[in-house]
């Protein structure tokens, strides 16, 4: 791989041991994937934040690093609400380790926003054509597909390497040749809300790491619906890029697909039937993190009501801070708005038997990562269950 004189100097250790190893990571990945060179990134979103995932070894590694990030860098969700962890049922020891992890990132100049939806809280992190080094799979999908930026799905160390060096290796989704559709998906149903998560759940399993091109009839999907679609496909498969005809940016050149698949209403409804919400002892919304629009909808549905089951609403702290009236309206019902974390990454989820969600992504991950059964419903059905209906 070609390195500029400055990059070569860093690789040889001229700027210290941390940067030498970070450059070694970028070069190793570049060699593995056949990159020609490095490319500057506009922003970084770093995985490896929840102490549940990284453990003592990960914390030690991050704490040992020296230096400052070169570009705006934020974090994946943590294992708990950084302020209200006690209310989540998180123990003292875990909380202490999680706070230490956050402080280790802060020391490196990382902005402490723990969210899977960086694009909902900042405008300046990504625009069409930008190269990025983002980690969280639904954020990667949204950046590539809806924003039209270019990012691979980075692991914790490679994202941190990109942040400290300010660059990433030019391979994968950074190259137009890897951004062409591989599957055509014809949907013969008018979808809304959680239907997009159910569709993504089905499509991801079929296309795996392919690039689906959707033809969706009817109403134009809202940003939150595209967010749900991409999140589910990245969980049930490893889709990092998709297109929706006349909605998302277009493929970068002429394309011909290997495979065509079709879905109608019946197949979407079968997902709900297979994973019913009945018997859930908790309801959780906000996978990926709720937007302000979603908080507003939830607040509207809860107005004047009292929840009978625990209801978690997960969002980014910036969004909660910007809309205190919505948070207050939601919590008036007895529901809890948690920031910095979510039901998928927090060990607090493990104490439940079954969780009802409106997210295709949470539906995939909850059984394996938290040992909790999952049921799927629309936002309205989830609220109904929390209010004691059904």
């Amino acid at each position: 791989m070609y390195l500029s004189r400055e990059e070569e100097g860093i690789y040889q250790g001229e700027q210290g041991e941390t940067l030498r190893r970070m450059m070694e990571i970028l070069v190793a990945l570049g060699d593995i994937y056949g990159a020609e060179k490095l490319v500057p990134v506009r922003s970084v979103q770093i995985a490896g934040v929840s102490y549940k995932n990284i453990g003592e070894a990960g914390l030690e590694w991050i704490s040992d690093l020296q230096g400052k990030v070169m570009v705006p860098s934020i974090l994946n969700p943590a294992g708990m609400d950084l302020c209200r962890w006690k209310e989540m049922g998180i123990g003292e020891e875990f909380a202490r380790k999680q706070q230490q992890t956050i402080e280790a990132y802060r020391k490196l100049g990382v902005t402490i926003d723990c969210t899977c939806t960086p694009y909902q809280i900042y405008d300046g992190l990504a625009a069409k054509g930008d190269h990025l080094a983002w980690s969280e799979s639904s954020a990667v999908s949204y950046a590539n597909s809806v924003i039209g930026a270019c990012t691979n799905r980075e692991g914790g160390p490679s994202a941190l390497a990109a942040a400290l060096v300010g660059k990433t290796a030019l391979y994968g989704y950074h190259l137009d040749e890897n951004r062409l559709p591989t599957h055509l998906v014809e949907v013969r149903a008018d979808l809304r809300g959680s239907d997009y998560g159910a569709l993504g759940f089905l499509v991801g399993r079929i296309v795996k790491d392919g690039v689906p091109f959707f033809r969706l009839p009817g109403r134009r999907p809202a940003p939150d619906e595209l967010k749900a679609l991409g999140a589910a496909m990245a969980a049930s498969g490893s889709v990092a890029l998709y297109y929706v005809e006349n909605v998302t940016p277009k493929p970068p050149g002429p394309w011909r697909v290997e495979e065509k698949i079709g879905f109608d209403r019946k197949e979407i409804d079968e997902v709900y039937a297979k994973y019913p919400g009945s018997g859930a002892d908790v309801v959780a919304l906000g996978c990926p993190h709720c937007s302000a629009e979603e908080l507003e909808k939830i607040a509207g549905l809860l107005r004047g009501e009292k929840v009978q089951k625990e209801l978690w609403v997960c969002t980014a702290r910036k969004i909660a801070d910007l809309h205190p009236h919505l948070v207050a309206a939601i919590e008036e019902s007895g529901a809890q708005v948690f920031c910095d974390t979510c039901m998928v990454v927090s060990p607090a989820t493990e104490r439940f038997g079954k969780m009802m969600v409106n997210s295709g992504k949470a539906l995939v991950y909850l059984p394996g990562l938290a040992g909790v059964q999952a049921g799927l419903g629309s936002l309205e059905e989830c609220i109904d269950v929390a209010l004691g209906g059904r």
């Binding site: 190893r21 990571i25 190793a28 490896g48 030690e60 590694w61 914790g156 160390p157």
Partner: protein
């Protein structure tokens, strides 16, 4: 004999070889507290990878495996060096963050090295020295 290879993670080290034709998932296959291979389905089941020159085709599995390698190194239970046919990101990053020399791009003949054979790895020069012939 001497074999040319490609540097993934820098450094030099030497030690007794531990060889397997199975890929390794450090999360799951290896116990981070003992360095033992704990997956009964793995060819190295019951063996300890600590301070060996670990020769295997490549990594697989969860990316948390990179941190497991780091944890092994902190406890002095990591291999002193690793040799892959083809490195993938989990083992590559694990080796780099842990400061363990790692080389790849050698032929499958390397998997015929006998366990316990003394092997020297110089990642920076891209050379492996083996005190045994592995030719057919």
């Amino acid at each position: 004999m001497e074999i040319k290879c490609h540097k993934v993670a820098s450094g030099q080290a030497s030690g007794p070889a531990l060889v397997t034709k199975d890929a390794i998932s450090f999360l799951g296959n290896v116990d981070a507290k003992t360095g033992m291979v704990v997956d009964p389905a793995h060819e190295l089941f019951g063996q300890c990878i600590a301070r060996k020159v670990l020769i295997f085709p490549g990594g697989k599995g969860s990316t948390v495996g990179s941190y497991v390698i780091y944890q092994l190194k902190k406890r002095d239970l990591a291999p002193v060096a690793m040799i892959n046919i083809r490195s993938e990101p989990i083992v590559a990053i694990g080796a780099i963050i842990s400061g363990i020399p790692l080389v790849d791009r050698v032929t499958e003949e390397i998997l015929r090295v006998k366990n316990g054979t003394f092997v020297e790895v110089d990642a920076d020069l891209g050379v492996i020295k083996i005190s045994q012939s592995i030719a057919k």
